[in-house]
Symmetry: D2
């Protein structure tokens, strides 16, 4: 089996100036105040919109699309955000026998590096052993079921939550603000936080007018 | 471990007359034709609305709420219907050690009845053995991880797609029509079809004006 | 022309006990704590959900449907709540010549009672006269355009925002909470507030666990 | 008063290649078939997706934003598309006295060119006269009410559906396909069709794989 870390990639070009200008241009339509647009008015306008809670205007920045590589446990939580668009690796149509192994995600509390594994490394703790062996056994069962002519959509039954999945998520800036507020808090699942905090940090740097108010420990 | 079949329960009282009357009352607002309401006009009105494709009016029947007991593989597909409301058993907050065992769903292609199982029944085929033993091993790993003080939200990593989950789904009649069209077709996952076809059959009987056009093999 | 006041009617039976029980039943699915349901646990559960901000669970009470009779200015704001279902009197398909007159809504700042009017009452202020005569002229133009064979969907061009419209709005309890928070605040349009405050007052009485936190002057 | 024609401007850069590539990249995640991407595979992929009705994948093209200048009658229909983002000129906050006149939209059935008008042109038909004079009177009433210290949000009561409004609409490609199918059909309001057909024509040229199937008379 192959073990990898969670990861993410922001697919959208975060051009701060053009994002703020899109928001300003749409927002000023409401007040017909386009004549107040200057070369540096967009920053002020975005701050004012956020302060007033006029969130609908934030929807006019370009949507931000993120590719996540996470486990199926986390992805099941992620797809509950109903205002996003999702495209996810299908366990019905992907046959992992073709790549000869199954890929799982290493959670942050397991002290193991990424790599191909066919047997138990010696350095693991007892509980890590249990987790590791369970995945190895699940992979074996999955591959054997395929050999017994179970379709991937049937054989997936034995694949655990640690299974790696890829999911592309597209949402507008207002919705990302909402998602990041929830999913960067301490109440969030640690693996969810693990992929959301890097996004928040990038957005706080690129769009401080909009994401600067979200705090986390 | 405990093995059970998928099941479902429609929690909403399907009172055909009051459903059609709600739809008619809202729909006739559009045309201000409330004076055409008679004791039996609602059936005709609903048929006309469906024929014209004026689906927005169907949203005014009372929402239908269904409790599903399914596996986590199917529930991951189900929650992709973004117009529904969902309340789902949480693998973060439920600790299955409390009930002493884990519950899994028997897929329709496994020839085994529901019950408590601690060892392999003799009558299974080779591939069914693989599936069965894989779940037994996953349950064991999960319970051991909890004993090693992993939280349920961490120990869930080893739980497979066959894990039983309960999920309450609420949607309006227009959305159920859309869901049932997709999920009762032959392209749907057999376990999804297994819980959706009974709903369709009940709705075809109770609301033939609205669901009568959905066909399946 | 006919002048009437704005009004509203809640079409849903607000049975507090069954609403709270629906919420509790769905919500406890998340924690599998159905065994904690007692005859009076629902109130406590709903309060806890609101305090925790677990709004998704509130979606499981039955949707509340309200029929509004308001002016077209207000209805244009109302339909911006994108999570609602709407059925609205159509200015394309309704021909007000059939009823012989056009109906307008009296705003709260005009000191005039409802009734049929064919000429200016003597008691109005100067600005009220302007408003009154403008509506009378708009009605005349509309009816004449229909006589010149303009279709209602063309003749509507001259009908003003004061035009009476009927609109049925259905939303879940979580969404009503959001709408009422926005539309009962002092920032809301006075005619919008005029129809929303009565709803809030009724819901505060019937469902204090859920709507008790919304305050207004 | 000022009379103008309806108009629209597509604010999004319709770069066909990058749109199709975004769709392909997200869509192939579902099947993990990224290895099949070639320099010209995106066209084929988009066609296949449309043929299969796998509309969720179309949501991954960049959203298309359009600025409309239309009348308030049409905008009231437009904002009923609940999956869009809207930013609309506010009749509560814009004070048309500042620009010294009110702007109205010339419907296609009125034979009059754009311009500033203070009195009735001689060339109009009888019904066009009625329409023209009605707008002139509405403008006068509106400006007088403001002079009597009515706020814009109160004085708007007398402004008719012909009032010009600006509205910025953002939606994903899947939703635009749905909107254009409905709003370019012969059942649509002629003024709605008037602004939607140009969009459809542009999208049919730029993205024939996706919009080529929509037909109109």
């Amino acid at each position: 089996m192959q073990l990898i870390y969670s990861s993410l990639e922001i697919l959208t070009n975060l051009d701060r100036e053009s994002i703020l200008k899109s928001i300003e241009l749409a927002g000023r339509t409401c007040y017909k105040s386009e004549d107040k647009i200057t070369s540096d008015s967009a920053t002020y306008f975005a701050k004012m919109i956020c302060k007033k809670g006029h969130g609908a205007v934030l929807e006019f920045g370009p949507d931000i699309t993120v590719r996540f590589i996470i486990d199926r446990g986390v992805s099941h939580e992620l797809v509950r955000h109903r205002l996003c668009s999702f495209a996810q690796e299908s366990t019905r149509y992907c046959n992992y026998a073709k790549q000869g192994h199954v890929i799982f995600i290493i959670p942050p509390w397991v002290n193991l590096g990424p790599g191909e594994y066919t047997k138990l490394p010696t350095k693991l703790s007892e509980s890590e052993n249990i987790w590791f062996n369970s995945l190895l056994a699940a992979e074996k069962a999955y591959l054997e079921l395929l050999q017994h002519n179970w379709l991937p959509q049937a054989a997936r039954s034995v694949l655990p939550n640690s299974l790696k999945t890829e999911i592309v998520v597209k949402a507008n800036i207002r919705e990302w603000h909402h998602i990041l507020e929830l999913r960067c808090s301490k109440q969030a699942h640690p693996q969810m936080r693990g992929v959301m905090l890097p996004i928040l940090n990038i957005l706080k740097i690129n769009l401080p007018e909009i994401f600067g108010d979200i705090e986390y420990d």
